[in-house]
Amino acid sequence: MRDPRISFRSRSLAAVLAFLLPGVGHLYQGRRLKGGIFAICILCTFFAGLVLGEGQPVYCGVIHTAVGGTVSAQMNTGRYHTERSLGYYVQVFVGIPALPALIQSWRYGAIENTPHPPMASMIVDFEGNVLGADPEHRQRNLAVKGKLSLRPGQGHGMTGTVSGTTKGGEQVSFELDGRAILGRPVFGSPRQEVHCELAPDESGFPRQLIGTVKRSFLDWYQAPRDNEELDRMHSRLNQKFDIACVFTWVAGLLNIMAIWDAYDGPAYGYGDEDDSKDD
């Protein structure tokens, strides 16, 4: 039975507000201390998880491409299916802070979210590999980190340069000549894949540039990703990524209890009952 000393106002509205932002339902009811406890504890737990996991633990879907093999979900133009993330079913109870994942899932499925050639000139930070062959026709892979400069060329081609340093510290520069493709604009990775054709080397062997450039925050935050990206997160953050996920799950679970408290009041009573009945 609900305690008459507690002002619930509109219980349904309080529950909806408590769902949208932890603690707000209680503040609406005038239960300021509990509102403060819920807001601080739940939001801090959720955002601590986000910070620990570099913004990546919240997403509502994992993309599986129908092609599989070497084509990543970012560059895949074919069919795919989305596997719902079980963790998101509890993360969503944090409310507004977890809702961008639903918007990003919708944006990911939009027709215009496909791999595409760059629409305009761009100069961006680049990390990746130059694939080519040595004079003995053996495949050669050179890791490069630096700047990628692209500008539209004739037809569908692009021109430009990639310049930077190799792992050994050597300064290198390559001319681009041919097709360039950027990965899907909306994808759950801060790095956007880019594939470019390079001008052939002195011996006439074709070369290709495969790497990544920076993706804008609004295009990767809480967006669906593939298992490859999750593997990258695990290998970089190790246990921290799992702990980050646990923090965000726990925050969602805690807010379920807070929503119920806004709707129906405290489970054991007001708190001035006999101590012997304590849990």
Binding site: D3, R5, I6, R31, L33, K34, I37, F38, C41, I42, C44, T45, A48, L52, Q239, K240, I243, V246, F247, V250, A251, L254, M257, A258, W260, D261, G265, P266, A267, Y268, G269, Y270, G271, D272, D278, D279
Partner: protein
């Protein structure tokens, strides 16, 4: 920082929110959550100790 220490803020958060959903009176909430936090820490320390012993 050892990963086990991440459990401390999580335990504080869980015990405070859980107890706040059980009672309305502030002093009762804080008393119950302190007790719960200590119980969680003791429980986790016991499990940690057992697992450490078993790993030898």
């Amino acid at each position: 920082m050892p990963t086990i220490f991440y459990a401390v803020p999580l335990a504080i958060s869980i015990s405070l929110v859980y107890c706040a959903t059980r009672y309305e009176l502030p002093e009762r909430i804080f008393r119950a959550s302190t007790t719960m936090f200590i119980k969680i820490l003791i429980g986790m320390a016991a499990i940690y100790g057992m697992l450490t012993l078993l790993s030898f």
